[in-house]
Symmetry: C2
Subunit: 260 residues, 2 copies
DNA sequence: CGAACTTTTGATATCACTCAAGGGACGTGG
DNA sequence: CCACGTCCCTTGAGTGATATCAAAAGTTCG
């Protein structure tokens, strides 16, 4: 927010992120449901021409009329709200493969803002494209709906996190969650991944003060649990970090292709 | 949780909540979209035979395979999670007209529990019924999808509430939100409504301690903002309560039938 | 190389938690 | 209809985790 915050204009650039195995959307949906070759081709086509977006760009702003659905292909973005008093709460991270709500076009007005934290590649899907996917590609539809349920479940888990865990536990939990989500789209190497956020962002995520986040991170480092430098997080002792956070990944519904 | 927590068995009883204007589901959806007479008849039929449920009954439990969608017709329920340490976080209230996630059948396992707080009337919609509504009743589908978006937006607002507001502000915000939601289904009289929760529940909702909730409620009472007795909340000074909570109802998307 | 931002440190304040116990309400059974 | 148990609400005293305020040190980048 203190950032430059330019609005996403008519932007630049191509670059084909097609190669199916590297397409985070395809990877993610395949974690949720079986896709046909035709499905993969459809998804690859849709996500073929992302726009490059500069850090700090608002993808949509609170008060805007929603205009299609955003899909993040690279980089990281988050949803957040600003209160009148100036405090901010971050309510979700969007990592590659993530979309914002499928049916958002039903609403007349956005109730929060989505901002790119790092340089991102983003695709905008028109309401028509979304409708086509949902109507004519049942497996894709299934995957997308499931992804949305997981987004909601994640929100609930964040509520538990902020409502009922201590400062250190909150951060630990966040780090564990993001590791799994980054892994699911092939963006973690071992137990480390890009985490392009400031300590201020972490504070606004976990409902704390930047100062306290700083001290808490130091604790986690001293205990040999993590390393966090130059926008990259390395988890040094995942089992202990998970135990500390009491992290149970069931709410992410990874690898449960089952169900009716 | 300390409650008896019997599992919802094959339960009793009928009683026809049909009369369209009193059907909370119909009222709620009409706030979101225009319904035809046929739509109203469909909805009335679906919700015609609620089961009576005793306070403390778990409608679904974490770990269960989801089996259809619940619709609350009367009373109040909430979603919550228990941590291993015994602490609990309530993540949503379900008031009459509310459903749990439409697509929940896509998941193999529930990641949280839903419990009736008061005596409730509840309808279980089978996955087939839900599919039929979504496929063959476009306006109903639209209303239901919108309702789901609002549920998600509400979750985000709760995150702001817990993450960034003081004890008094949190309670004030919750009370304001519930007033609007109860009004939307015709269950508020003036500025008061049934609120069948204990102070312990309020603590688990707002991420606080019961003791502190108690003291905070006393403050709100002393300031002439509310009255809370025998499971009924009366808001004495709504403007001041709203101001205290910095309550902006935009996230509830009430009365915006607009949008593409 | 300088400006803007971020991270770190120190000192102090406070809001909310903990522990503990008393009082009230409500229901059940004798 | 009283006695008793069980929740729930209330109060008090003491503590602790996290916030606040302020400033220095480190980074990043144009």
């Amino acid at each position: 927010m203190s950032q430059l915050a330019r609005v996403w204009g008519g932007h630049i650039m191509t670059e084909c992120s097609s190669d199916a195995a590297n397409n985070p959307l395809i990877r993610k949906l395949e974690g949720f449901t079986a896709l046909s070759d035709a499905d993969r081709i459809t998804l690859a086509r849709i996500s073929a021409e992302p726009r490059q977006v500069v850090p700090g760009t608002d993808l949509v702003r609170e008060g805007d009329a929603p205009d299609g659905v955003f899909l993040v292909m690279k980089g990281m973005a988050f949803r957040h709200k600003l209160r009148a008093t100036g405090t901010r709460q971050i309510m979700a991270y969007l990592v590659p493969g993530d979309l914002c709500d499928l049916d958002v076009a039903l609403l007349s007005e956005m109730d929060h803002t989505i901002t790119a934290v790092s340089a991102c590649e983003v695709v905008r899907l028109t309401p028509e494209m979304v409708a086509d996917l949902l109507a004519n590609h049942p497996q894709i539809a299934r995957g997308l709906r499931k992804a949305q349920l997981v987004d909601e479940a994640t929100l609930r888990e964040w509520l538990v996190n902020i409502g009922r865990r201590s400062a250190a536990e909150r951060l630990a939990h966040l780090f564990c969650e993001l590791l799994l989500r980054m892994r699911a789209v092939g963006l973690a190497s071992g137990d480390s991944y890009e985490l392009p956020v400031t300590q201020i962002d972490l504070a606004d995520t976990t409902g704390q003060t930047p100062v306290h986040v700083n001290r808490t991170l130091q604790e986690l480092r001293e205990q040999g649990l993590i390393e966090l430098r130059s926008r990259r997080l390395k988890i040094l002792d995942l089992p202990r970090l998970r135990a500390l956070a009491e992290f149970r990944p069931n709410y992410l519904h990874l690898g449960d292709q089952a169900a009716a």
